[in-house]
Symmetry: C2
Subunit: 269 residues, 2 copies
C-alpha cells in the first residue's frame, strides 16, 4: 500500500462523518455565488428579485446592476429589495440581447433561471460576454426538468412533467437547458469552464424541502401548465391529474424526489 | 441586513471559488467511507473485490470481512487483494440472507451495488442489521439507472437503457433502487438515516470519466444486454443500435452525461 495515499485519509478517519447535506435550495445553488470585494456585477434577468435578494445579501461589498425586460417585474423587485433594506442593488429595465452598457463594464455577470426562456441563449450569452471585463467570470444557473425522478415512480407523473417541457418548447424555450451549459459556454468561447450538478434530493427527513420544493415549487409549476397542455392535446385530463396526484404522493413518509440544477462558471479571456 | 448572516460569507468572499468537483468515481462514492480506527467491518456482496480494495486501503486501521455468494468471485477478489499487498481483509463465501455470524458482531456493515440484484432487499438488510452492533452504522451504496440523462438527448438511448432496467426486473432485481434507499432503511427500522445523491457529471473537461464511466462502465453495460433484450422482444435491433450510438455520441466534445448514485447511512439503535 502506498502510504502517501492516506495523508488525507488519516485525518478523516477519526469518525465516520455523515454527509453534510444542504437543506435549502439557497445552500445548494448559491453556496459558491461569491464575488470579490468591490466587484461590479450584472444580474441579467432578475425577474421579481428572488435571486437578487440572496446574492446581494451574500455579497454586501459588491455592487449589483440587476436588469429585466419586464417593467412590472423590475418594480416588484425594487419593492422587495427596499423592504429588505438591501442597498447594493440598482435596477434597470433592459433587453438581454441588446444591453445598454459599454464593452467590458462588469467584473462578473450572473444569470439565474433565464436561459431556459430564451429563443437564442447563445446569442444572449455572447452579448453578456461583451459587457464582461477580460478575466471576468460569468455564472449561469439553470434547472433541467428532464432530470426529475422520484419514488414511487409513475409513468403519468413523467407525462405531466413532459407537458411542461413541451409547452416551454412551443413558446421557444428549453426546460432541459441545464445539461447544455457546458456546450453553451464553449460555443460562446469562454475559458476555464466548470459546470457542476446541484442535485436537490428530498426525503421526509427534510420537511422544509418537501413543502418548499416538491409541493410549492415543482408540482405547483407542473400543475399550472395543465389546462394549456390539455387544450393543446398534449395529454388527456385523467392522465394529467393522475400525474399530479403521483407527484404529491412523493411527499408522503416513504417518498423521495430528486431534481438537478446546473451551475456553470466561465472566464472571458 | 442581519450582519451575523455573513460570518461564514466574509471568509468565503476573498475569491470566487470554483466548485471543486470530484474527478473520479472513487471520490464521489467513497469520499466519506471512513471507519473508526479498529473497527470490524462486514462488506456484504464483495464480488471480485472492486470496492473492497478501495475501502480497505482507505481504512488501513480497520479490519474487513468480505463475503460473497460466489466462490469464483471470492477467489478473484482474494487474488486481487493479495496482488495489492492489502492485509486487512479476510474473505468468506456466505449467503447474505443467512449470515454465518452471531448477532451484533460488526461495528459497521457496508453494501455496495448489491441490493439492486436481490429479490428481497429489505429481508437482506434486516439480516445484515442482525449482525451489526448496537449504535453501529450501516452504509449502502447503489446506482439508479432511471437517473440517467445526457446531451444530446435521445429517445432511443433512453429505450436502450430501459432494456437494462426491464431485464434486471425480469430476473428479480431493481436497477432503480438508488432512489429507494431512504424508505428501505426506514422499513428495516434504522435510525438517523441520511441518504445523499452522488451525481456523476461528465463533460469533455473530464476525459477520465468520459472513458472510464460513460464508455467503459455505463454504455458497455447497456450494450451487454442488447441481444437478450432483442430476443425477449423488448426492443428492435435498429432502435437498440441507434440508442447505443447515441450514448457514445455523448462522449464527443459537446456531449454531457449525468448519472446519480445514492449513498445511505443508518444507525442501529
Amino acid at each position: 500500500m502506498e502510504h502517501t495515499k492516506y495523508v488525507h485519509g488519516y485525518s478523516e478517519r477519526e469518525a465516520l462523518r455523515l454527509n453534510d447535506q444542504a437543506d435549502t435550495l439557497e445552500d445548494i445553488i448559491h453556496n459558491d455565488t461569491v464575488f470579490k470585494s468591490g466587484s461590479l456585477v450584472l444580474e441579467a434577468g432578475c425577474g421579481v428579485g428572488a435571486q437578487t435578494k440572496i446574492i446581494a445579501e451574500k455579497n454586501p461589498d459588491s455592487n449589483f446592476i440587476s436588469i429585466d425586460i419586464s417593467k412590472e417585474s423590475i418594480h416588484e423587485a425594487q419593492q422587495l429589495i427596499k423592504r429588505l433594506s438591501i442597498r447594493n442593488v440598482v435596477f434597470r429595465q433592459a433587453n438581454l440581447y441588446k444591453l445598454p452598457f459599454q464593452n467590458e463594464t462588469f467584473d462578473n455577470v450572473i444569470v439565474c433561471f433565464v436561459l431556459e426562456h430564451l429563443h437564442n441563449p447563445a446569442v444572449a450569452l455572447n452579448e453578456l460576454k461583451r459587457v464582461l471585463k477580460n478575466d471576468g467570470i460569468m455564472i449561469v444557473i439553470e434547472g433541467d426538468h428532464g432530470s426529475t425522478f422520484f419514488y414511487p415512480d409513475s409513468r403519468e407523473a413523467h407525462s405531466a412533467i413532459d407537458c411542461q417541457i413541451q409547452v416551454q418548447k412551443e413558446i421557444g424555450g428549453n426546460s432541459n437547458i441545464g445539461r447544455e451549459l457546458y456546450p453553451l459556454f464553449k460555443s460562446v468561447g469562454f475559458s476555464d469552464i466548470v459546470v457542476s450538478p446541484r442535485t436537490v434530493y428530498v426525503d421526509t427527513s427534510k420537511p422544509q424541502l418537501v413543502e418548499g420544493f416538491i409541493k410549492n415549487t415543482f408540482t405547483a409549476m407542473i400543475e399550472g401548465v395543465g389546462e394549456k397542455a390539455i387544450r393543446h392535446g398534449l395529454i388527456d385530463r385523467m392522465t394529467f391529474e393522475k400525474g399530479i396526484k403521483d407527484l404529491y404522493r412523493t411527499t408522503e413518509p416513504d417518498g423521495v424526489f430528486i431534481y438537478t440544477f446546473f451551475k456553470g462558471f466561465g472566464t472571458k479571456k
